[in-house]
Amino acid sequence: MARVTLTVNDRQVTLDVHPGERLVDTLRDRLGLTGTKEGCGVGECGACTVVVDGDAVNSCLVLTVQCDGAAILTVEGLAPAGQLSRLQRAFLEHGAVQCGFCTPGMLMSATALLARNPRPTREEIRAALAGNLCRCTGYEQIVQAVEAVANEAE
């Protein structure tokens, strides 16, 4: 067991973790943040995407012990007081959500993109979302949603 301190959605937590524990399991099973999903376990589907120190990563391929001291943002952190972020609202307005299983990961990838590049082109959006598989939407309305937020940026 190793002791790690994480800042998850602006809340600091200290946990004793097994060296083989994955970040996705820490979030879902120990912190109850089940908004982060697991679809493949091998970093291909992106459903488990969270933002670690500003970077979108697959939380199924990160060991929690590697995150000591890290700041982690999950989908639950996007609307801390129930107030949806502009991106979340755009997802609803553009019909970017169908089954919703890929949605948290999509939101996290797009959030990381917009933080780094507030006005991405359509091609940049598609490239940034290429690591998040969606089987329902054909991606079009998701790209439209991110584009809408980008178009509003200063």
């Binding site: 190793a2 097994h18 060296p19 083989g20 524990e21 994955r22 399991d25 879902r28 099973d29 376990g41 091998v42 970093g43 291909e44 992106g46 995407t49 970077d55 979108a56 990563v57 697959n58 391929l61 990160v62 060991l63 012990v65 590697q66 000591d68 990838s109 990381a112 993109l113 490239a127 940034a128 290429a130 690591g131 998040n132």
Partner: protein
């Protein structure tokens, strides 16, 4: 709920010297950087999939060793001294733990070795590039690794260090000996890669995958060319997913070197590259496809270099 990786210990190190000491004392330990290959392998080995016969009796699982004992890992991802990317005269020095995303966006890499920047940009997804490291891409030694052909044409030198043996500098082709095999000793750590940069190269990197993103390369071609007038003064050609280990394809280079550029010579270089692949690998299930396609891609990459010099047109 969890899928727990078969890991007995993750040693978080604070310095390269400390890491080398740990490796010297724990010969079975494996360095962990981004984990994007290693953790997938450990999950499969543990049998996380829980299908088929344990221990990979079906073959395709890569778990042929049936080694279910927990791994001991050395986490080097937090070492800032291994993440540096810097230009050192004509040399480009990239720390082994530089993330693939950092390599892809580094101005130094873009200036000295745009093929490598392009290669790094085509690795996996944003999420993978944010974790994966250049050193990991090399040490995993996949024949389809995106960075290896780019590193090969830049005559990359891999810097290994160990407590016992000090520093060892190996050319990429010496370090990577075959599919998923390197000659690094268990106590050695890859700390940096040195590339011969330099201006005046025309460069081309082509990657063919089944999908437009997030897919293992079917074939990769990297070409550097230097022209004097219309004459090919220097040329370096490498290919990925075509050879068991990274190398320059000399028969293809010979078809171009010292002669005026022509489309016929470009075609000849392509055919020579494909023949070399067949000579080295023999006839395989995929040869009927890969032989003509490698020839076409090498031809195309050479033409693209020539086009950048104003000697040809590509794309059509």
């Amino acid at each position: 709920m969890s899928i727990r990786m078969p890991i007995a210990e993750v040693y978080r190190t604070s310095s390269v010297d400390d890491a080398l000491a740990f490796l010297a004392e724990h010969p079975g330990a494996r360095p962990l950087a981004g984990g994007t290959d290693l953790l997938v392998e450990l999950r499969t080995r543990w049998g996380g999939p829980l299908v088929g016969k344990p221990g990979g009796a079906q073959g395709a699982d890569g778990g042929g060793g049936a080694d279910l004992s927990p791994a001991s890992l050395l986490d080097i991802s937090g070492l800032p001294e291994l993440r540096d990317i810097r230009a050192d005269g004509r040399k480009l020095v990239i720390g082994a733990c530089a993330r693939v995303a950092e390599v892809a966006s580094s101005p130094q890499v873009a200036a000295a070795a745009p093929t490598l920047a392009q290669a790094a940009g085509s690795v996996g997804s944003v999420q993978i590039r944010n974790r994966a490291t250049l050193g990991g891409n090399i040490m995993n030694a996949s024949p389809a690794a995106d960075s290896l052909p780019a590193l090969a044409v830049h005559e990359a030198v891999c810097v290994l260090r160990s407590q016992r043996g000090g520093e060892r500098r190996l050319r990429l082709g010496e370090l990577v000996t075959g599919p998923y095999c390197t000659c690094a000793r268990p106590d050695e750590l890859l700390v940096a890669v040195e590339l011969e940069g330099g201006s005046g190269w025309r460069q081309s990197y082509m990657r063919l995958g089944r999908r437009q993103a997030m897919t293992i390369a079917r074939l990769i071609v990297a070409v550097l060319m230097r022209f004097e007038g219309s004459t090919v003064a220097d040329v370096r050609i490498s290919a990925g997913a075509a050879f068991p280990s990274p190398r320059r394809i000399e028969p293809a280079e010979r078809a171009l070197l010292g002669a005026p550029f022509s489309r016929a010579a470009a075609r000849e270089a392509g055919e020579a590259a494909a023949e070399e692949m067949v000579r080295v690998c023999g006839i395989r299930w995929s040869t009927r496809y890969k032989q003509p396609v490698l020839a076409a891609l090498v031809e195309r990459a050479v033409r693209q270099c020539a086009a950048k010099e104003g000697l040809d047109e590509w794309p059509e």
